[in-house]
């Protein structure tokens, strides 16, 4: 338990993969008690594969990915293909403030765990369903993963270079959907706090990506324009790109917004000719001539280390930062000073690294208090402690593969 702002809130989740689990992970970091219902029968695949890392695991408790997405939660095994397991799940829901699920639309109702049923057991329940396309509409039963949400939501089409294919986006796409689900649950929780009323939320992952692309949607709506990929280009600023540095595959991102900044940059580059060059004299001309401009800047940056350029330019008040990979994020002095990476002692994995909660709350800090649950780690605590099922009964249920 943490001293987080959501202490006292209980959430039961029926989710797997990334988009569902990370939604409740965020709330668990903020102090909510999250009980994850899962089963050996149909195991969460993030316990076995690290999709974007191209890595597989041999046992269910070895996944650093699962750990990073399920921190602070309790885990209980219920094989929902067994009616007795469904009855236990109902009891759990009845003791929860929020239920979240991300099964294919129709599955939860078929199991007897739909909102209509659970709301009769707990009238003021908040229940969020997260699916690819939503619970209604012609595509409602379509299945999808992060790359699908990104492509349907328009982000694949818009990311990359115009002369290359669209981007096959992964990881962070699911986490956009998860973050959206997390704030949606909190909106419903605040409504509940004021009125005592629960409700049902139908969230579509593909829409969580599309809505963040609204500028593009509105360009089509207002001007019938279909934008294409444009690399790092901005519609106004130039320079606005990544420039090569001395070592192989090292890049510095630079964004200049005003003429004053441009003049400062020329001084840092020690290039008075450039400062007087009419082609780059103002925002308009710099944008029109950005290819020549990018080339000139690249010739300067490739003589320097990326961090050197960052410091030189930042000291002159210009936005510049390196393009970092995982190894260099770990080595970065600012990230170290802010303790953005934390190591967790996991009983099976050993030392596992995770990213800290992305907010610092002065009075009710978010915190990592427990590694992700081992499969069935909290069976007794939840089934006996919370629901009062006697230990002998739990053993029997385990033998019958109900608690499984």
């Amino acid at each position: 338990m943490t001293n987080g702002p959501l202490q006292g809130i209980r959430i039961t989740e029926f989710t797997s993969a990334w988009a569902g689990p990370y939604a409740t992970c965020l709330l668990a970091l903020l102090g909510a008690e999250v009980i994850k219902v899962e089963s050996r029968k149909r195991i969460d695949h993030s316990r076995f594969i690290a999709f974007s890392m191209g890595k597989t695991f041999t046992g269910p408790d070895e996944s650093s990915v699962f750990d990073n997405l399920n921190l602070n939660k309790k885990g209980v095994c219920l094989n929902l293909s067994q009616p007795e397991a469904v009855e236990i799940a109902k009891k759990l829901a009845a003791k929860s403030d929020i239920v979240i699920e991300n099964m294919r639309p129709g599955v939860m109702p078929r199991l007897g765990l739909g909102y209509d049923v659970l709301a009769t057991l707990k009238e003021d329940l908040i229940y969020l369903s997260s699916s690819s396309c939503g619970q209604i509409g012609p595509d409602r039963e379509f299945i999808g993963y992060a790359p699908n949400f990104a492509s349907i939501g328009g982000l694949s089409h818009d990311t990359g270079y115009p002369d290359w294919p669209p981007s096959n986006l992964m990881g962070f796409i699911d986490l956009k959907s998860a973050t959206t689900a997390a704030y949606a649950m909190l909106m419903a929780l605040i409504h509940h706090q004021k009125t005592g009323e629960g409700q049902y939320i139908d969230l579509a992952s593909q829409e969580t990506v599309a809505i963040l692309n609204s500028d593009m949607l509105l360009d089509y709506i207002l001007n019938q324009r279909v934008n294409l990929r444009k690399g790092n280009k901005d519609e106004i600023m130039s320079p606005h790109n990544c420039y090569p540095c001395k070592e192989d595959d090292r890049w510095i991102s630079i964004a200049v917004s005003t003429d004053e900044e441009w003049q400062s940059m020329c001084r840092v580059m020690g290039n008075t000719e450039l400062a007087d060059d009419k082609r780059f004299a103002d925002v308009y001309n710099r944008w029109i001539n950005q290819e020549a401009l990018d080339e000139t800047i690249g010739r300067w940056t490739e003589t320097l280390d990326d961090y050197e350029v960052m410091i030189l330019l930042q000291e002159a008040g210009i936005a510049a930062a390196p393009s970092l990979n995982s190894e260099r994020l770990f080595a970065d002095p600012h990230i170290q000073a802010r303790e953005v990476f934390r190591s967790i002692n996991h009983p099976v994995i050993g030392k596992n690294w995770v990213v800290a909660p992305p907010w610092r709350l002065s009075e009710t800090p978010a915190a990592i208090t427990h590694q992700s649950p081992l499969l069935g780690e909290h069976n007794h605590e939840v089934l006996n402690g919370l629901l009062g099922i006697p230990e002998e009964e739990i053993e029997k249920l385990q033998a019958e593969k109900v608690v499984y």
Binding site: L27, M53, C133, D158, F172, T195, R229, R360
Partner: protein, 404 residues
């Protein structure tokens, strides 16, 4: 009128970037009263960003501003002068949540730091969204969204895949960026508001834009320590994967088969071709050694279909195929229109506009539009005169001195 989830929550926004503006827009859309402060005369930077209706730059015709500020009240105020700071303080006295995105130390310079403001309003939740957070060696560094995308580890991995590593990595495309920061901040803001409802207490929230994006990239960001590798964008990194972007008659589709039953369904769809029966192809790990050849075969199968045809066919076999959508595809999508993703709004200058609403449906407190984005200074009289008691004459003087 339908009830709203955040009815009674009062928010003040003093932001010039997307993250803060989007965070408060989401609250406004769900019923919070949000007062947006813009610089006098010039207005918010977003008013100078496209898409503009009819491609005509105009402060009241920006689709970008329209999207980011729906349901907000708008005032103009420059808090740098003592008179401006006094009015700012009067506004703060009566609110629950203040969101600012000024650099660290700037609010203190105006006499409007958290320590001063909490004396006026002990229940205040003040949220500061900054580039690198309130502490640490880079806290005073500047950063456009381009820089944050790259220094958070996101840009380095894009586009996926990159056929030519001498070309710079890119930021995620589409919209102008920063929306992810808004939704991340919102989770903590709402949790703090919930806590205020429990305890009556306010607090200060430090949100780093860099950390918000790192949290969303948490699996890949920790890859170096947890999996011994830093994922990059090279074709080699992404080679051992079945699926990806595949061209068909009218664009691309995304193919992904993370689960073995989906792989088997894909083979069934393709008529169980002979090559797929080879032992090396049956073994999920050995299969990856020939990912290039297999992907070529899948691409050959797909190329003569339209996106809609092959996606429907694939999904009927429970294979997660999806179209790579452009903005036009989304605006015209049967699914997006069936769920009511787009709503019609009427703006005093732009007229009727088809408008992206939200990626979720709340059963009791649905998304609703009560007012479109404010015209510049639209609510100055209502807020300053009617609410704070500034006389009409005083308002004129404040206008003439560029304070309002």
């Amino acid at each position: 009128m339908e009830q709203t989830a955040l009815d009674g929550v009062k928010v003040l926004e003093f932001c010039s970037r997307i993250g803060g503006a989007y965070c408060t827009k989401l609250m406004a859309d769900m019923g919070a009263e949000v007062i947006k402060i813009e610089p006098p005369a010039r207005g918010d930077d977003a008013r100078r960003r496209g898409p503009f209706q009819g491609d005509t730059p105009h402060p009241e015709k920006s689709g970008h501003f329209l999207f980011l500020n729906s349901n907000k009240l708008g005032v103009t105020l420059d808090p740098r002068s003592p008179a401006g700071a006094r009015l700012f303080k009067s506004l703060v006295e009566d609110i629950d949540i203040l969101v600012v995105d000024t650099p660290p130390g700037m609010m203190e310079k105006f006499g409007l730091g958290y320590d001063s403001l909490k004396k006026l309003n002990p229940g205040l939740i003040m949220t500061a969204i900054t580039a690198f957070g309130m502490t640490g060696p880079y806290k005073d560094y500047r950063a456009a969204h381009l820089n944050i995308s790259h220094v958070s580890g996101q840009g380095y991995m894009l586009p996926i895949p990159s056929p030519d590593m001498s070309r710079p990595p890119v930021m995620p495309g589409g919209s102008k960026g920063g929306y992810d920061i808004g939704i991340t901040a919102l989770v903590a803001v709402l949790a703090a508001d919930y806590w205020k409802g429990v305890s009556g207490k306010g607090q200060f929230l430090d949100i780093s834009r860099q950390e918000a994006l790192m949290a969303m990239q948490r699996i890949e960001a920790t890859g170096f320590r947890n999996a011994g590798r830093s994922v990059d964008r090279s074709a080699e990194t992404h080679r051992r994967r079945i699926g990806g972007m595949m061209a068909c008659k009218d664009g691309y589709i995304t193919v992904i088969v993370p689960q073995e039953h989906q792989w088997n369904s894909l083979l069934e769809l393709m008529g169980n071709p002979e090559w797929s029966q080879e032992p090396d192809c049956q073994d999920p790990n050995k299969r990856l050694d020939q990912a290039d050849e297999i992907n070529q075969r899948i691409a050959d199968f797909i190329k003569d279909y339209t996106r809609r045809e092959i996606v429907k066919l694939g999904q009927s076999f429970s294979i997660p195929f999806s179209p790579v959508n452009t903005a036009q595809d989304i605006v015209e999508s049967e699914q997006f229109n069936a769920v009511g993703f787009f709503k019609s709004i009427t703006h005093p200058v732009m007229g009727e506009v088809k408008f992206p609403s939200a990626p979720y449906r709340f059963s009791k407190t649905p998304w609703s539009i009560r007012r479109t984005a404010p015209l510049l200074g639209e609510h100055n009289e209502i807020i300053f005169c009617d609410r704070l008691g500034v006389s009409r004459e005083e308002l004129i003087r404040l206008r003439q001195s560029d304070i309002i």
